[in-house]
């Protein structure tokens, strides 16, 4: 039996372990159902036991002397990490994290984990890489390979089906994690991926954006209370940081967030409430300098790689903080292209490491099918007119292509005239900047309450796996809302109609798997056609509610052709 090689993203703030199953990389839930493990270790000097992950992080403020976090920063250095009365080499602390991940993965998979691929930042020197291998060995693991984090991320996108082929071999990986920022340029030469240049800022991450917003909220509270002496006591700081983080996340999807938080502080026995509306524009203005700082580093890395922005073929986003639209916009502006963001940015590096593990053991890696939007979705606006017809024709994108679904996104638009009677909401899907070149999804009229020109109207799209888009339109400040559901599949886009099975969703996991195999270019045309044919009969029979015997028979045939296909993939013929 072939042994499994798991992929581990051993991060500064968080770590993730993943494995390859049926050619598809998956992150393993390791703690309370979550795949993300805080990279923190806490010791109990009394009995010598230790905690790893969220529990260790939860102990940090209570037992700061006994808790070690961000040990990755010390890897390969002589500095020791102290916990209680004891000193540890950084690789010892890392080994606890690795062991915890491997043990949890072992429990989940029901087999021992012995071999792993571990990722490290591209800038890690030889000593730091050796220390990482030692950490693995101390954890009782065989580190079969060390992979650069940006390389792992690029490896995932190599296998994402929705991604379009690009000619340029240069990929830029922008990694904005909780506490660190890294950017790398990679050159892809066939199977080899070489890091051409890499830089970063070890003191910049998503937490800094939360902190900035927290400071703003504190100022706002001081203003509301008329008390400059409002101190930043622990409970207030904790509440405000929580509120800031939630607001930041909400603003990634919508243009405004309403904050109604009761009693964030008690002042002279009276509650001090936080009741305000925050716009994405305000948040972006507050944090613009940090995004600019990252873009400065991006330009520095491009110079170091002797490349122009135009030469970059693909942009890949890694790290939870890259969900902020300001990051997408800044990158799109500099590179004049869309950004690859369809794989979960928190898990991307570990998934890439799992793919690398699979490649080492000779497993075939299939094309990763993601639940993403096949086309951009948006509405018609009058921002630009069609030069030929003179009609309003601008396609304003609300949900970009390749966004993971289900998804909800909102944008704010403004009325043109005083007391405008209403707006015709016309929804389109496609990639052209002109609506006339995209496919119409549906339209409806939304009557407006009398209001001066430039009155904000928020349009929200919620798109689900069934291809339904719920359009919610809200005239701000007027209690005027309307919701309409449109079916994006009713009017098919030309390209989709030619794809087999693109219109109907798979009936179950077997048909989904069959479709994945039928779309695998490594299989011979005849095998793919056969799978398509059998899968179509199988799906049709399920939809028609055929009897059990007939279903068993079809299921057997489908399993057989799928088995043949997998054998063909394994043998590499």
């Amino acid at each position: 039996m072939k042994s499994l090689v798991c992929g581990i993203d051993l991060g500064t703030t968080n770590s993730v372990i993943a494995f390859l199953k049926d050619g598809y990389p998956r992150a393993i839930p390791v703690e309370e159902g979550s795949a993300i493990l805080p990279s923190v270790v806490s010791f109990d000097p009394g009995n010598g036991s230790h905690w790893v992950g969220q529990r260790a992080r939860n102990r940090r403020a209570a037992f700061p002397e006994d808790t070690v976090a961000s040990v990755k920063r010390l890897m390969g250095k002589e500095t020791l990490a102290t916990a209680g009365q004891k000193s540890f080499r950084p690789e010892e602390i890392s080994s606890y994290i690795l062991k915890h991940l491997a043990d949890r993965a072992s429990e989940y998979l029901g087999e021992p984990i012995e071999k792993v691929v571990i990722t490290v930042p591209a800038y890690f020197d030889d000593a730091q890489r050796r220390a990482t291998i030692q950490a693995g060995e101390l954890a009782g693991l065989d580190v079969v390979r060390i992979v650069n984090e940006p390389t792992a991320a690029a490896l995932v996108y190599d296998h994402v089906r929705a991604e379009t082929e690009v000619e340029s071999p240069y990929v830029l990986v922008y990694d904005l994690g909780g506490g660190t920022f890294d950017v790398s340029v990679i050159e892809i030469k066939g199977e080899i991926k070489e890091v051409l240049a890499s830089s970063g800022d070890t003191a910049l991450g998503g937490d800094d954006f939360d902190e900035r917003l927290k400071d703003y909220l504190l100022e706002e509270l001081r203003r509301q209370a008329g008390r400059e002496d409002l101190s930043e006591e622990v409970s207030l700081k904790v509440r405000l940081l929580d509120i800031a983080e939630k607001a930041k996340i909400a603003l990634s999807d919508r243009p405004y967030v309403e904050i109604h938080e009761v009693a964030v502080a008690i002042l002279d026995g009276k509650p001090l409430n936080l009741d305000l509306e925050l716009s994405r524009e305000q948040f972006e203005a507050l944090t613009a300098d940090m995004v600019e700082r990252t873009m400065g580093i991006v330009e520095e890395v491009l110079r170091e790689a002797h490349l122009d922005a135009a030469e970059i073929g693909k942009l890949i986003l890694v790290g939870g903080a890259t969900r902020m639209p300001a990051v997408h916009e800044a990158l799109s502006e500099l590179f004049d292209q869309t950004v690859a963001h369809s794989v979960d940015p928190d898990l991307c590096v570990a998934l890439g490491a799992a793919i690398q593990g699979g490649l080492i053991t000779g497993d075939s890696v299939g094309q990763i099918l993601l639940d993403v939007t096949a086309h951009s979705l948006g509405i018609k606006t009058v921002d630009e007119r069609n030069p030929e017809t003179g009609d309003a024709d601008h396609f304003s994108t609300i949900i970009r292509r390749n966004t993971r679904i289900p998804v909800s996104r909102a944008e704010v638009y403004r009325t043109l005239a005083d007391n405008q009677r209403g707006v015709q909401v016309e929804v389109f899907q496609g990639e052209s900047p002109w609506c006339s070149e995209n496919a119409p999804v549906g339209d409806f009229f939304f009557p407006l309450e009398p209001a001066p020109a430039h009155c904000p109207v928020v349009v929200e799209f919620a798109y689900d796996r069934e291809g339904l888009v719920r359009v919610c339109i809200d005239q701000k400040g007027c209690a005027n809302r309307k919701e309409v559901t449109l079916d994006t599949r009713q009017r098919k886009v030309a390209q989709e109609a030619d794809e087999p099975g693109a219109v109907e969703t798979p009936v179950n996991y077997m048909s989904e798997k069959a479709r994945r195999l039928a779309g695998d270019p490594r299989l011979s045309e005849s095998v793919r056609r056969e799978i398509q044919r059998v899968a179509a009969s199988y799906e049709e029979a399920i939809r028609a509610g055929e009897g059990e015997d007939r279903m068993d028979e079809l299921e057997d045939v489908l399993l057989e052709v799928m088995e043949q296909a997998e054998e063909e993939l394994e043998s590499g013929e």
């Binding site: 806490s42 209570a62 622990v234 009693a263 026995g269």
Partner: protein, 175 residues
């Protein structure tokens, strides 16, 4: 034994061996199919469980926000003399109704003070007795939540030295 008998036995043996091989092959194929089906089924179940877990997690978020608000509302009126006894009763009753409602969704709030610090369900934000090894919850700043035994969010707490180093469990049952 005649030569004809020997040939007959040999033919018979070969036929039986061929039949056995055919049966073994059939059984092997059938077993392989069953194994394949089983692995597909296990995978499907796992995916469904993961999807259900993710869905459950998403759906309770607004409920947790509401629980947070009621918790802070209660805290705001905690200072003595701020409310009449009846007003305090109103707030307490609303809070209890919300607890009950949350329990229908399998959600349990973590907000008990005076209990030993448990890093599984409590996240310490401050320690008033840094030198003490045994800590208990002095103050809950932000409630935590459990759902069906799993921690959705740990409670954010201020900890301090436990008054009794060996506190007896509440509601203990005699052996």
């Amino acid at each position: 034994m005649k030569l004809g008998d020997f040939k007959w036995f040999r033919r018979k043996r070969d036929e039986e061996a061929a039949e056995s091989r055919r049966l073994i092959l059939e059984e092997t194929q059938s077993l392989k199919k069953l194994l394949r089906k089983q692995s597909i089924l296990i995978e499907e179940v796992r995916r469904e469980q993961e999807a259900a877990a993710a869905k459950e997690r998403t759906n309770v978020e607004p409920l947790l926000d509401l629980c947070d608000s009621v918790f802070h509302l209660q805290r705001a009126f905690r200072s003595p003399g701020l409310m009449s006894r009846q007003h305090a009763q109103v707030v307490s009753m609303v809070s209890k109704r919300l607890d009950l409602f949350a329990s229908y969704a399998g959600v349990e709030m973590i907000l008990e003070e005076g209990v030993p610090f448990d890093p599984r369900i409590h996240e310490a934000v401050s320690n008033r007795s840094p030198d003490s090894p045994a800590l208990e919850i002095f103050e809950v700043i932000q409630p935590g939540y459990l759902r069906d035994g799993k921690v959705l969010r740990p409670a954010k707490v201020v900890v301090g030295a436990a008054t009794d180093p060996n506190p007896s469990p509440k509601g203990s049952i005699a052996p």
